[in-house]
């Protein structure tokens, strides 16, 4: 069985204190706890500080284009459904340039876990406005304060009917690892939004900021994570400042509903057609 050390790869170059270290650690613990081997996991990552996670995580990786993690991950999962596919990127990647892919991945309910490292800022390009930056936030591209409202990922995902919606915080790595485990185990599309503070360019949404405000739903015995209405209400009441599994539902996956789609990975099947196949196919052309 694989150990934490088996998932180590290149040494991270994130800033000391970056929330993304927490995500890397929690993800490693989650896959080890789930008994996964490095060759069974693919991490598809986007562009930004967070996108470097595929370099630092010792499984198969794909470090693609800005905003396009989910399409690549979709291709990987359909090519080989036996793989555990994790898409990971930042809030700019997922809620800015790539937002439409998030909604469509939710629609399909393909069995992918999507981790968004949400720091409310553009870090790698040194501090510009992000789609999750709060209204009024001053950044290099909003020096007088942002006049735009932030994207609300939990509300969006719940409204679209996402079958697994969760949130985690880099200040609570044990909890985050638990959330990741649940998300990976969930059959269908799971979104985990992670508050992952940028210690260099965001002096507002800091570890302390989140610590003071976050409510852990997993610790609330009265919270019913299977009730979508209650979930939406809770998210609206708290302004989205919750952690834990917000909503979970059983739904058939995209791949389970495809006609003729095999149980084993497409990539493992023979390619060539035989004479009988050609004879049958040709009948369409008379």
């Amino acid at each position: 069985m694989a150990k934490v050390a088996d998932f180590r790869a290149a040494r991270p170059t994130w800033c000391p204190g970056c929330g993304d270290y927490g995500v890397l650690n929690a993800l490693t613990r989650a896959v080890v706890n789930l008994g996964l081997e490095p060759e069974e996991v693919v991490v598809v990552s986007g562009i930004g500080c967070s996108g470097k996670i595929s370099q630092y995580f010792g499984a198969y990786g794909f470090h693609g284009l800005h905003g396009r993690t989910l399409p690549v991950a979709t291709g990987v999962k359909l090519a080989n459904r036996e793989l555990t596919v994790i898409a990971a990127g930042g809030d700019g990647d997922g809620y800015g340039i790539g937002l439409s892919h998030v909604l469509h991945a939710i629609r399909r309910n393909i069995d992918i876990t999507y981790i968004v490292m949400d720091n409310h800022i553009y870090g790698l390009t040194t501090g510009q406005l992000a789609p999750t930056s709060d209204k009024g936030m001053k950044t290099k591209t909003s020096p007088y304060g942002s006049v735009e409202e932030p994207v609300r990922p939990l509300e969006l995902a719940l409204a679209q009917g996402c079958s697994f919606v969760a949130q985690a915080f880099s200040g609570e790595i044990n909890h985050m690892a638990e959330v990741f485990e649940k998300a990976i185990r969930h059959k269908g599309f799971s979104l985990v939004n992670v508050f992952s503070p940028c210690v260099t360019f965001n002096k507002v949404n800091t570890y302390d900021y989140f610590k003071e405000r976050l409510v852990n739903l997993d610790e609330d015995p009265n919270y019913d994570r299977h009730d979508r209405h209650a979930a939406i209400k809770k998210v609206l009441e708290t302004g989205g400042l919750v952690i834990g599994v917000v909503y979970e539902a059983e739904k058939p996956t995209f791949e389970d509903q495809l006609p003729g789609f095999p149980e084993e990975g497409l990539a493992t099947r023979p390619l060539a057609l035989n004479e009988a196949d050609f004879a049958e196919l040709e009948k369409q052309f008379v």
């Binding site: 060759e39 291709g75 080989n80 497409l266």
Partner: protein, 643 residues
């Protein structure tokens, strides 16, 4: 002054050089009536075909073929009328080429469906028309110029047909709508029209039964009989009031043809090559590739995913290829533009990728339902930065099958994007072909690591971007033990680390990627057609893709005038087989590059890559319609006379 190899052919009836060139609307083609006339001299031999006298102003008719068209508003079932007639002719054993003219709307406007049937293989929808079935006046107005003198117009007598005075046609009003109403459904006028056509060309009603059954069989026997009845009523009317006024060619000896479009052949070729994944966004004229694979994949365990946009589509195909399945995306111009960033990703990450581009009129949304060959520059130069790429351009439906199948081999052998570029006229036109040779389909997955090889390596020692002499690095596939790597959009070293500081790593990896194509010789996809060596020619015509049949027919007309014209056709555009192309261009006295675009993209490419600026002339058409043979003929004559 250019050489006059054949002064006889350059003489006009009135003598002197041709100065009467005038332009057809929205086309860059010049037509010259006196030249036409010269081209129509009697008694000139055409290889294997008899030249028939034709009227001035109308293209001459080659014996051995028949041309028919039905037109009306969109939503009137024009397509089914054309499909039933063309499919029946194919089943009877004729070589058929069909061409659909349609607009980007659902109801109204004008649409027509041309069917050309011949006793020989044809690659072109034909310049002219013997029979026109008109559901409205617009159909007559739009298509009359194609009709031969004394051609037949069968019109629905629900409207009063008008033909310009002096135009010699045979006009027959037929109560299409009335008969259909009597049968209880006005839409049945299509089948009535097919029945009238049958009578007019001398085909029995029963000849259509198998087509009707194949088309309507799953709707029940009653629907089949209702359609047969409509056909019969039309036939009876035609037989009684019109009679056989047109003739089909002789049936060819070999009568078993596949009737297949370029889009279908691309999809079929992909399936045959082991492709089991298509991600695409619906777009005219490429969507039929999706349809065909949606229908046929389930039996073979493949998947078609309709992506939310073309950016997603191409990234999905890249992800699937990375994970080891043969995957492609198919699109047209607007989608191709959206895909450009990801084309670079496939190049940089060295992920195999097949992209089918069925070109339509550009730029922007352009002419969504019309044909053009204007994406070439984008295919050759698109995406920022520099990557290895391969561009294949099928010229025929058979090519669509074979070259698409081969594209998957090339993509895996060279681990780079491979374009298969066709256009609307090739993609959406069904053509009768003699068959496909499946033994030509072979599957070569290129350089892949085996599990045994990976097990022999030290833990973590596998290098995805290993620097090799060929530039190709053996690929591991996710799921394989000890094959871990990260496919990268960023520049990287051979182990796949992206945070590189030194400039030499960049240079090493760049050279590695770019040299992959050094040994790729695609000269087998450059074909020369001609009885004479290039140095004996009056003119060399160069084309690419779907224009092949049109060029060949134009050359037959030029040959009939006594010109020696050769034809070089490119089915691979990148890497350009320069030596072979140069050899023909160097020998030919003049070169005419035929292409469906404004700027002459292939001409420009040849000038840059091969040279011979002074020899290269262009024949360009960009009004949305495919070339007619006569247009290429006229432009070639102009070059021959003035060149």
């Amino acid at each position: 002054m250019a050489r006059r190899r054949n002064p006889r052919a350059r003489t006009h009836p009135g003598g002197g050089p041709c100065r009467l060139a005038f332009s057809i609307a929205v086309s860059s083609i010049n037509l010259c009536p006196p030249c036409w006339y010269t081209g129509l001299r009697k008694g000139v031999k055409v290889v294997a075909k008899e030249l028939r006298h034709a009227a001035a102003g109308a293209p001459r008719t080659l014996a051995g073929e028949f041309n028919w068209k039905v037109g009306g508003q969109q939503g009137e079932g024009i397509d089914s009328t054309g499909e039933i007639f063309s499919q029946t002719l194919n089943r009877l054993g004729y070589y058929v080429y069909q061409y659909r003219h349609f607009m980007s709307l659902i109801k109204g406007g004008h649409t027509n469906y041309k069917v050309r049937a011949a006793d020989h293989l044809i690659r072109h929808h034909g310049d002219e028309l013997q029979v026109l079935v008109a559901f409205d006046q617009k159909t007559i107005d739009h298509n009359l110029h194609e009709l031969v003198r004394d051609g037949v117009i069968l019109y629905d007598d629900a409207f009063r047909a008008r033909v310009p005075e002096g135009r010699e046609v045979r006009l027959y009003g037929v109560p299409l709508t009335r008969i259909a109403r009597e049968l209880g459904n006005p839409i049945m006028k299509n089948m009535v029209a097919v029945g009238v056509t049958a009578a007019v060309v001398g085909l029995p009603v029963e000849a259509f039964r198998s087509t009707i059954e194949a088309r309507f069989g799953d709707k029940g026997a009653r629907v089949v009989e209702l359609n047969m009845e409509a056909l019969r009523r039309g036939f009876e009317y035609g037989a009684e009031h019109i009679g056989q006024v047109a003739t089909l060619p002789q049936l060819p000896e070999v009568r078993r043809h596949l009737f297949i479009s370029g889009n279908e052949a691309v999809a079929y070729g992909a399936l045959a090559a082991g492709c089991r994944f298509l991600a695409a966004y619906p777009i005219t004229p490429a969507t039929e590739i999706m349809y065909w694979l949606i229908k046929n994949f389930p039996r073979y365990g493949g998947v078609v995913i309709q992506a939310e946009d073309e950016i997603a589509a191409v990234n999905m195909a890249i992800g699937a290829n990375y994970a080891g399945v043969r995957a492609m995306t198919s699109t047209s111009g607007p989608g191709l533009s959206l895909m450009q960033e990801a084309i670079g990703l496939a190049g940089m990450s060295e992920t195999p990728l097949v992209v089918v581009d069925v070109m339509r009129g550009g730029p922007s949304t352009g002419l969504p339902t019309k044909t053009e060959q204007s994406d070439l520059n984008e295919l050759l130069y698109g995406t920022h930065g520099e990557i290895p790429r391969i561009v294949l351009a099928p010229a025929t439906v058979e090519d669509c099958f074979y070259l698409t199948a081969e594209a998957f081999n090339l993509a895996e052998r060279y681990q780079c994007p491979v374009y298969v570029v066709t256009d609307m006229s090739l993609g959406m036109s069904r053509t009768s072909i003699d068959g496909l040779d499946y033994s030509r389909v072979r599957i070569d997955r290129g350089s892949l690591m085996t599990q045994e090889e990976l097990d022999r390596l030290e833990k973590g020692a596998y290098k995805r971007y290993l620097v090799t002499e060929s530039g190709v690095s053996p690929r591991a596939i996710p799921g394989m033990r000890n094959g871990r790597f990260v496919a990268l959009s960023n520049e990287h070293d051979e182990a796949g680390l992206e945070e590189i500081e030194d400039t030499s790593t960049r240079e090493i990896q760049m050279k590695k990627r770019m040299r992959k194509l050094d040994d790729l010789d695609l000269s087998e996809y450059v074909d020369y057609y001609g009885d004479e060596p290039a140095e004996n020619l009056d003119l060399l015509v160069v084309g690419w893709g779907s224009t092949i049949g049109r060029i060949q027919e134009a050359i037959e007309m030029l040959a009939a005038d006594g010109y020696r014209v050769g034809h070089l056709h490119l089915r691979a555009l990148y890497p350009l087989p320069k030596a072979k192309v140069r050899q023909y261009l160097a020998a030919a006295p003049r070169v005419l590059v035929v292409e469906n675009n404004y700027t002459g993209q292939l001409g420009g490419y040849l000038r840059r890559e091969v040279g011979f600026h002074e020899k290269l002339e262009g024949c360009h058409k960009y009004n949305g319609d495919p070339f007619l043979a006569s247009e290429i003929y006229s432009r070639a004559r102009e070059v021959l006379m003035n060149g």
